[in-house]
Amino acid sequence: MKTVRIQYFALLREQRGVGQETLATAAATAGELYAELRSRHGFTLPADRLRVAINGEFAPWDASLTDGVELVFIPPVAGG
């Protein structure tokens, strides 16, 4: 198990009900973690509509998670 910190924005923040959380997970990759959280919290967006950032930078879904990392799952953007 490793401990990760997650920040939520926009639709994911509303569906999770909090802006951030720290949790223990056995997920090996960012993609596995999102799948775990999606089934736990009923997130409507599938991973293929999201991007992920690890420690403040865009990262691939198969990036390995290490203890203490900070993740942000990025819903479809709509700036401007």
Binding site: Q7, F9, A10, L11, R13, T44, L45, P46, R49, R51, A53, G56, E57, F58, V72, I74, P75, P76, V77, A78, G79, G80
Partner: protein, 155 residues
């Protein structure tokens, strides 16, 4: 040269002064305003939320790309967060170059890339009391907004 995410109103005079430079012969700016409709629905207001740290990093990359492509003197941009009302300035882009072609092209490039790439989200509040995050709709497990935004309320 910076792309700023701001929870405060954008001060145009300060930005314009920051662009001033004796090498600059052209200045192009773009303002994205909150408008009162989107996809045929009346819109009352907009909420913007941003992952500010990454948005500013990605924004700086976009400005650097524009400088490389268009031979700019300077480039600056600001995107608002928070609850904005109709007519409010949501995003501002300003560039200077020796000549107008580069300035026009760069301004367009920056706003197009910013809309596509910055981790910024927009929630529309409609006249019928409903609100929704743009581009995040899902129906029957399939995307209802798989393509690019069909008509965001600004820009």
């Amino acid at each position: 040269m910076s792309f700023q995410i701001s929870s405060q109103p954008i001060d145009l005079a300060v930005l314009r002064n920051a662009l001033a430079h004796p090498h600059a012969g052209a200045c192009a700016t773009f303002e994205g305003w909150v408008r009162n409709h989107n996809d045929g629905r009346p819109v009352l207001s907009l909420e913007y939320e941003a992952y500010a740290g990454l948005a500013e990093k990605e924004g700086a990359r976009i400005l650097a790309e524009a400088c490389a492509k268009f031979d700019l003197v300077a480039a600056l941009a600001v995107h608002r967060t928070g609850h904005l009302q109709l007519g409010d300035l949501a995003v501002w882009v300003g560039v200077t170059a020796a000549h107008r072609d580069g300035a026009f092209g760069a301004c367009r490039y920056i706003i197009d890339e910013a809309k596509a790439r910055l981790p910024v989200w927009k929630k529309e509040h409609y006249a019928d009391g409903v609100s929704a995050w743009l581009n995040c709709a899902i129906r029957g497990g399939f995307s209802t907004a798989a393509g690019p935004p069909s008509g965001p309320p600004t820009g």
